[in-house]
Structures are given as C-alpha cells and as structure tokens.
C-alpha cells in the first residue's frame, strides 16, 4: 500500500505531536515548583583584595523574589557595579557597603569592578522558582 500523505502534512502532524509532548513536559515541570518566598534576606559577605574576590566562589546564587544583601568590603576604594539591576556603589577600605535589593528578574548578572578596565568579580545568578 502506498501512502499518499503530502510531506508537509506529515511535518505538521509531527510538529503537533512534538508540541503536545512538550506541553506535558512543561505541565509536569510546573507542578514541581510551588515554593514560598523567604522573607529573611539572603546575606552574602564578599571581600575584595587586589581587585579580586577572595575565596573561590564564581557565582552568588539566589532565587527569584528573594531579598538579597551583598555586603562588600575592600582593601582600597572601589566602584562596584551590578549589571542588569544596575546598582552601583563606591566602597572605601575598612567601610563595608551593602547592595540591598529584591531579586525580581531571573538571569545571570555580572558584578564588575570599574575604573580602568572592567573586571568581573562574580556573577549574581537569580534562578527561577
């Protein structure tokens, strides 16, 4: 028996099947993600020495909706900029400063030390709930 289905119809059917499959996948994914928003701020103490972050952390990870406090201390005057959220602070040696904000947008945002060259100190990762 010969099949007389036009190829573009077959493409449409397969596309539909895939879409249905993915919808089920999405629906399943969504049910696993009901969590509440923490009211307690997520605090991170970060220290810069010689223009670099001490320790080995490459990312600061929070969840969407978290209240976040990044507490910065440095060994010299530094201008720090959190991209995306666009928060800029100037930190002097011995006088810690805080970036406080609510993580309303998901994404991966570089925090750079400005002045001369722009160097990424650490990435803020805001993950979806």
């Amino acid at each position: 028996m010969r099949s007389h289905v036009a190829p573009n119809n077959q493409i449409v059917r397969l596309g539909l099947a895939a879409t249905v499959g993915m919808t089920i996948f999405i629906a399943f994914g969504e049910t696993c993600n009901a969590q509440s928003v923490d009211e307690e701020p997520r605090r991170f103490e970060l220290r810069i020495e010689n223009g670099r972050l001490t320790g080995t952390a490459k990312t600061v990870q929070v969840r969407r909706g978290d209240a976040v406090e990044l507490i910065w201390s440095t060994d010299r005057r530094s201008v720090l900029h959190l991209h995306g959220y666009d928060i800029e602070i100037t930190v002097d040696a011995g006088k810690p400063q805080t970036m406080a904000f609510r993580a309303r947008a998901t994404g991966r945002f570089p925090i750079e030390i400005h002045g001369g060259r722009h160097t990424v100190l650490v990435y803020l990762e805001v993950h979806p709930r």
């Binding site: 993915m22 928060i87 970036m99 990762e125």
Partner: protein, 478 residues
C-alpha cells in the same frame, strides 16, 4: 547602606559611556541569560536522538511518494498596493532616521536609536520575523524601494541600470563575502556599537548596493549580492507566509518549512551561503562559552592577557569565524559524499539538495539564543523612539521608560529552548528523509542515505543545546 542607587528596573544609563568600548562577544552584548540546566539539556538531547530513530523507523514502513512540487500554498491573496507603499515609506523613513541619528545624534550607544534599531530590532527581530511570519524584508527593502522609485521616475528619459548579464560563475559569492564581512562586524569589529560607525557602514553598503543595481539590474543583485535579501530569503523559506512579486505583491499561506523543500538543487554558491549562515549563527554563541574564553586566555596568557592584546583577541575571533563555517562545510560535504556512496549513484547537485534541511535547527537555536535579548534589549527602542538623537526630545512621551529586565522568566526561556530545538530537529530530520525519497526514488536507499545526515543533525542540535547550557562569559573579563 551608603550610596546605593536602587533603580531596579532601569536603562543601563549611568555607566553607559564606558559600555560602547567594552569588549563583548556580540554587538550590544549585555545578555543576562542563565544557562540551560543540565536536566533540560539532557531531556532535549535525548528527545532529539529518540525522535531521529522514530522517524527512521516510520520511513521503513511506507513507500513515500516523492516530494510534491514546491507550490505548497493553500491560500493566496494580493496585498493592496497602499499597504505595501505605506510599509515601504516607513522602512525608507526608518533607514533615513537611523543614518541621521548615527551621524548627528549623541554618540553613546543607548542614547542613540541607531545601535538598538540595527542590532536588536532589525537584525535579531527581522530574522525571527522572517522565520516565523514571512520574509517581509522582500517587500520593504529600503534600497530596493528607493532604486525602484528612482527608476520609475527616470524612465521617460533614461535607464538607471546598465543591466549587464550577471556572470554565472559569480553566483551568490558576492553575498557570501558580504555575509562574512557582516558577521565579522557583528561579532568582532571594535566600535560596532558606536552610532556614527553604524551610519557610515550603512552609507557605504547603500552605495555598494545601488552600484550593484546599476550594473546588473535590481533583480540580479537582490538575488546574488544584496546579502540581507539572501539571508532573510533563506530564513523566510521556513515561514508560513510566502511573498512573491509579479507587478503586485502576492502572499501565500503554506505549512511551516514547506518552502525549504527544494526540487532543484541549490547552486554551489548558494549552498556555501547557507553553510556560512549556519556556521556563523553557531560561532556567535560559541564565542560566549567558557571553553572559548579559556582557550583565548591560555593563548594570550604569555602576552599580558586579553585586555593588553585587543588585536590578537580580534584575530583569534576572526580565525574562529572563518574556521567554524569551513569546518561545517567540510563535515557537510563528507556527509554528502557518504550519501552518494551509499546510494551508489552520482547524482549531480547532491550537495545542493540537503543543505536546507539543516536550516530548521539553526532557526530553533537562533530563537532560543536571542528571544530574551530581543524582549529585554528590544525595550530600549521605546524610550529611544521618543528621543532618537539623544537630544532630550520626548516625541511620544516614552522618553523616561525604564527597561524591565524581568519581562521574561528564565524558566520560560528554558522551555522555549527545549521545545524549539526538539521541534527544529524533528523538522530537519523529516525534511532530510523527504528529500532523500525524492532524490533517490527508493525508500531503502533513501533511508540508508540519511544515516550520515542524521549523525550530522544530532551533532548540530546537541552543539546548539550545549551552547545554551553554557554560562555566558567574556574572555579576559575575570
């Protein structure tokens, strides 16, 4: 708390003067996408492989008819001339605005409409529009519009075009060269976010395009030399709307991807063009991945790092930009050679038959890669529309609009990526098989001929997913 500027949702305004010169992997970088989590990556890659086998199995059971003629449109209509004219006037006006803003406006990237309008709205926006709606560029190409108008005006007195016969050997090679140059400007060239440079590039390209129209006639140059007509033309073959011109503009409705099924093989230069398109799309993403950054940093470590060697870094990027598409071309030609061996036939133009079946994978990847950038960076057009020159105007009352960086949730992008890439892969595999059936006329041979193609497709899809699963980094930034 200190001096904190908590402008949560904001134009990246304060620090922008420095942004234009910053090294970044893409024009107007500032992409804040989270990498695709491992689970999504594995689910999508697994689905792509599984689906490939399912399609192969399906093809074993049926004797499939050769692909139908390419005239797939189910509905056809004519677009009213006033609508076309209006769109064309808007398009020419937009180009004039972009060029004058670039030349005379504020030179800071986000204080001038040119960079966002060109890199985000037009280049990213139009490629997505071309893929999912139709190749509207064909209707509104401003260079073609102005030249056509000038030709019509001059007709009683003179012919504007020499209409020399277009040399066959030249084919679409001019468009290939221009695409490579454009990709280089997009991904490598320093100063590509500077409004004046953009305006200058547009003016030069305008001159070149009109020269092409004058020498070879408008149609010949649009087909072979006007790179954006060729790019959006190929991408637009995936779209459900098909625009054709025969004195009036006609629109036809067809199924997605139907326009990519060819009966006639592509010319070698067109095949090269498609491979170049596919290659540069991937290289764009590859240049933001940690392994590439590590390679660059390792290479430049002995010479003082990336910052001290902008030229060497540019040279490395250029090398990758050339090597990537070449590598893809070699792989593709090897696959075609294997296909010919399996089929034991020497069909002329075999290489021009299968290249378009890879396009859906690239379109899916492009959507996944750029959707959030279009939605976030694209918002800059709202304040800039009110103040295109950065003179402090407020034409539409939107000058103070603040960009909402939270407009698309990462989870939405992840699902979109997985759905788009798996669907793109399915369509690609299916198209390869349909084409093989019509070329080889024998289901068994057709099926076996597609094994090497299947490997290439799975590899291309997996690479696309892998790039999406990488955190975005800049070489030398850390």
């Amino acid at each position: 708390m200190g001096m904190i500027r908590t402008k949560l949702f904001t134009a990246v305004s304060i620090v922008l003067p420095a942004l234009g010169s910053e090294a970044s992997a893409h024009a107007l970088a500032q992409r804040y996408d989270l990498p695709l989590p491992l689970g999504y990556f594995l689910a999508a890659a697994g689905a792509a492989v599984a689906v490939s086998f399912v399609i192969v199995a399906l093809f074993g059971r049926h004797d499939i008819e050769p692909a139908r003629p390419i005239d797939h449109a189910i509905l056809r209509g004519t677009i009213p001339t006033p609508i076309v004219a209006l769109l064309q006037v808007l398009s020419v006006g937009a180009l004039a605005l972009i060029v004058s803003a670039g030349l005379f406006g504020d030179q800071r990237t986000f204080k001038n409409i040119a960079p966002v309008a060109v890199w985000v709205i037009w280049w990213v926006g139009f490629s997505i529009l071309s893929a999912f709606v139709g190749n509207i560029w064909a209707l509104i190409n401003p260079w073609s519009t102005v030249f056509g108008f000038a030709e019509a005006l001059a007709r009683p007195w003179a012919k504007l075009s020499l209409r020399l016969p277009y040399p066959r050997w030249l084919g679409a090679w001019p468009a290939c060269g221009l695409l490579l140059l454009f990709a280089w400007i997009e991904l490598v060239a320093p100063g590509r976010d500077v409004p004046r440079n953009i305006a200058a590039a547009i003016l030069i390209y305008t001159g070149l395009t009109w020269a092409g129209f004058v020498v070879f006639g408008r149609d010949a140059w649009l087909k072979n030399g006007e790179v954006f007509s060729v790019v959006f033309g190929f991408i637009g073959r995936f779209a459900p709307l098909e625009f054709t011109h025969d004195g009036h503009w006609r629109v036809g409705l067809r199924s997605f991807a139907a326009g990519l099924l060819t009966r006639e093989p592509l010319e070698p230069s067109m095949t090269a063009f498609v491979l170049l398109m596919l290659g540069t799309v991937t290289i764009d993403g590859l240049m933001e991945t940690p392994p590439w950054a590590a390679l660059v940093e390792w290479f430049l470590a002995g010479r003082g790092g990336v910052d001290a060697n902008p030229a060497a870094y540019g040279a490395l990027q250029t090398a990758l930009l050339v090597a990537g598409p070449l590598f893809l071309a070699v792989l593709y030609l090897a696959v075609v050679a294997m296909m010919a061996r399996i089929a034991r036939s020497n069909i002329p133009g075999l290489g021009g038959m299968f290249v378009l079946s890879l396009v859906p994978i690239a379109i899916a990847y492009h959507l996944a890669h750029y959707f959030s950038m279009l939605m976030v960076a694209g918002q800059f057009i709202i304040p800039l529309a009110s103040d295109p020159f950065g003179y402090g105007w407020d034409l539409f009352g939107t000058m103070l609009y603040r960009v909402d960086i939270g407009v698309v949730d990462a989870k939405f992008i992840w699902y979109l990526s997985v759905v788009a890439i798996v669907t793109g892969h399915i369509v690609a595999v299916w198209m390869g098989h349909v084409t093989a059936c019509s070329v080889f006329r024998d289901v068994c041979i057709a099926r076996r001929s597609q094994y090497p193609m299947l490997v290439l497709m799975v590899a291309y899809t997996t690479l696309s997913l892998w790039i999406l699963a990488q955190p975005i980094v800049e070489p030398g930034a850390k």
